[in-house]
């Protein structure tokens, strides 16, 4: 098996190559086969690998395979080497499995599109890059994947490039993530300067001895890596790109902007946990960023009207939970939430895609409604996903993962009541907007007629994901209910176990509060949007409410802020100097010479007397020189 892990990314890459080079000449079924088939093949491989890994774990906890020496110069050396340990395995599994489902879904979803081949080529490239990211043995290779997924994200957000808004969204996504990437690159340089290596195991081994606890350079490195993660995972203050990224096709949103790429930041931090652990400040920062993000995004999600934007903000919010968990040291909890979130958020996006597709590309939830009976299957699956998102107690995977995080935010080593407060209020908000979403879209009267019904190939992935959204959480139970911790046992082969603070009240209290708040949230959604819909209408008469709503709606005004503070001055400045003021120096020299030429030309006026005077002046010059030298 050791020699086969390279095949996992190789399959999608092969698919990409074929589609990129000759895709336009192929008929659509062929494209579908190549595009979806390669990812499915990878998924199968991963399944086999996973089974083997669980049954007979490798000696050093990881499978590795070196393809070739990539770079070797001086004391810097880097290879194309893949490495799968437990952490990677989780990610690889999610990527290939969810990826395969989404590819299958896309085969039907994108059927009518002209650029079928380009779509699958980009998707395959994305899967390849994402796999490289999580399977990388060194940070340079990781960075390769990291940038690769950014590229694919760019390509797929701007997939329908004829619309300028889509291109703008794509560019915005790339620019903002690039800021994070650049910070991360600086982090890599710093890390290399300190440790002389970028190989992940070496870093993990060397860090505790090389760095001192809380030393400034450690903190700096960790913060820079965090910044990288913030960009890619759309955390405050680099979160503004993700809502706009919904311009891409729904499968793209599902795969890239919900399930996989946006969690790369989580992976990076988890991967570099040793460095982070050495810096309490960085840990705290991670937690605070996560906590703030989940609230900010949650508030925005409450008032959105575009179904995909709601989901986008909820994604930001959920990743905020993961960051929060990472920040308090609840490593496995974060990964677990990633695991469940991947399923239910992919499901939600795919279902949303079906809804949108069925309603003539209608995105506004208030022009939907009453779909419960028209699209029953979609409704049921969507409900499963929504339940997980809202963390409906016991019957949803989201409950298990989120509950764990909430518990640890109070009790883990880095936890604190404040962080817990952030998390728990986020839970309330999440429940509220989830309820709002489901109720507005599926209940009430129908506002737009359903035009098309989803194909089989689209519903099957929905069902599979719905099942997973429910059952995926069962691998890990709260300690006080059922002592089952399959997931954290697996992950803790790589990540440290969460250390609890002492003197914590019983867990049951927190669970109770969480459940209570979730239900409250769901009920208030139900109350406001189903029972007493006029309440909202009354509120909307009040300017203060409208102002607050608009503020949340615009994503807390971040876009406008960045526009005025960064974008406009930048464009103004570059435009001002478009002609390059250095050129003025040269032009000045040239025109100066011309002016001199003009002056000198006046001396050539054709008058003999003047010429003799010139000679005379020359003589005087020579004689004067002799007089005074």
């Amino acid at each position: 098996m050791n020699n086969l892990i390279a095949l996992i990314p190789a399959f999608p890459f092969l698919g990409f190559l074929l589609l990129f080079l000759i895709g336009r000449q192929l008929p659509k079924p062929f494209i579908a086969w190549i595009g979806a088939g390669t990812v499915c093949a990878a998924a199968v491989l991963v399944l086999l690998l996973g089974i083997q890994f669980l049954q007979a774990p490798p000696a050093d906890g990881a499978y590795t395979q070196t393809l070739w020496q990539w770079l070797s110069t001086g004391h810097f050396s880097c290879a194309f080497r893949f490495r799968i340990d437990a952490l990677s395995l989780v990610f690889v599994f999610v990527i290939t499995f969810v990826g395969a489902l989404i590819h299958l879904y896309s085969v039907a979803f994108m059927k009518e599109d002209r650029d079928y081949a380009r779509f699958f080529a980009s998707m395959n490239l994305f899967v390849f890059a994402m796999l490289v990211l999580v399977m990388a043995d060194n940070l340079l290779l990781l960075y390769l994947g990291w940038e690769g997924v950014g590229l694919c994200s760019y390509l797929l957000i701007g997939f329908w490039y004829e619309t300028p808004a889509n291109c703008r969204a794509a560019n915005k996504a790339f620019y903002i993530t690039r800021i994070g990437d650049t910070a991360m690159a600086i982090g890599l340089f710093l890390l290399f300067k300190e440790l002389g290596t970028l190989t992940i195991p070496d870093i993990l081994n060397a860090s505790p001895t090389h760095f001192q606890q809380g030393a400034s350079n450690t903190t700096l490195i960790a913060l820079l890596l965090l910044a990288g993660g913030m960009g890619k995972s759309a955390q405050l203050p680099l979160q503004t790109w993700l809502p706009d990224a919904m311009a891409g096709p729904s499968p793209v949103s599902a795969l890239i902007h919900a399930a996989t790429m946006v969690t790369a930041g989580v992976y990076l931090i988890a991967r570099m946990h040793v460095v982070f652990q050495l810096s309490p400040l960085a840990m705290a920062a991670t937690a605070v960023v996560g906590g703030l993000t989940l609230l900010v995004a949650g508030f925005s999600a409450m008032v959105q009207t575009d179904i995909k934007r709601i989901l986008a903000y909820s994604t930001i919010s959920q990743i905020g939970y993961m960051f929060l968990a990472l920040g308090v040291g609840a490593w496995s909890a974060a990964i677990f939430h990633f695991f469940t979130h991947a399923f239910f958020k992919a499901l939600l996006f795919l279902a949303a895609g079906v809804v949108i597709e069925s309603l003539h590309h209608e995105h506004n939830i208030f022009r939907m409604g009453g779909l419960k009976n028209r699209l029953p299957l979609v409704f049921k699956t969507f409900l499963a996903g929504a339940a997980a998102l809202a963390a409906l107690p016991f019957v949803s995977s989201g409950f298990y993962s989120k509950d764990q995080i909430l518990w640890y935010t109070w009790s883990a080593g880095g936890g604190s009541p404040v962080l817990w407060m952030l998390g728990i209020s986020g839970a309330l908000i999440t429940a509220f907007y989830t309820a709002r979403l489901v109720i507005v879209v599926f209940y009430g009267e129908m506002k737009t007629p359903v035009s098309t019904y989803p194909a089989k190939l689209m519903t099957v992935p929905l069902v599979i994901l719905a099942v997973l959204s429910v059952v995926a959480g069962f691998v890990e139970w709260p300690h006080n209910i059922l002592h089952l911790s399959l997931f954290s046992e697996l992950v803790q082969k790589v990540l440290p176990a969460t250390i609890l603070r002492t003197g914590i009240p019983s867990e049951i209290v927190f669970q109770g509060i969480a459940i209570l708040l979730t239900l409250t949230g769901i009920y208030s959604g139900y109350y406001l949007y189903y029972r007493n819909t006029h309440v909202i209408g009354q509120w909307q008469q009040k300017p203060a409410f409208v102002a607050v709503r608009n503020f949340f709606f615009s994503g807390w005004g971040f876009d406008r802020l960045y526009n005025t503070v960064f974008v406009k001055p930048f464009v103004w400045m570059t435009d001002l100097n478009k002609t390059d003021f250095f050129d003025q120096i040269n032009k000045g020299l040239a025109s100066g010479s011309r002016q001199l030429n003009r002056w000198f030309s006046y001396s050539q006026n054709g008058s003999l007397r003047w010429y003799v005077a010139g000679v005379l002046v020359g003589v005087l010059f020579i004689l004067t020189l002799q007089l005074f030298v």
């Binding site: 030309s601 006046y602 006026n605 054709g606 008058s607 007397r609």
Partner: protein, 105 residues
């Protein structure tokens, strides 16, 4: 009142300068030629004086050559004057300004 070499040179220099003033101030080409002759003559004087100072004939010989040169010069010069008079109907040096730089704008 004895005189020394410098005195002679100064007389030559004064004549030389006068010739130069003539070249510089006169408008008529004939006058300019005359002034040139004065200058050459002044230089010849300086030579003769220098030869005398050392008691050598070389200064005088040089004067001879200056004379020859002045003659050749004047002959060509006067030929040019004639030609100029035919072409320009005037000996005004200021009318001969066709050759000059056109100052670029």
């Amino acid at each position: 009142m004895p005189f020394n070499s410098q005195t002679v040179l100064i007389v030559a220099a004064i004549l030389f300068a006068l010739g130069l003033v003539g070249v510089l101030t006169r408008k008529n080409i004939i006058f300019i030629l005359i002034s040139v002759e004065i200058m050459l003559n002044a230089a010849g004087l300086a030579f003769v004086a220098a030869g005398m100072r050392w008691g050598q004939p070389d200064g005088q010989i040089m004067f001879l050559f200056v004379l020859a040169m002045a003659a050749a010069e004047v002959s060509v010069g006067l030929a040019l004057v004639l030609q100029a008079h035919h072409q320009y109907r005037s000996l005004d040096i200021d009318q001969m300004k066709a050759l000059k730089d056109e100052v670029p704008g």
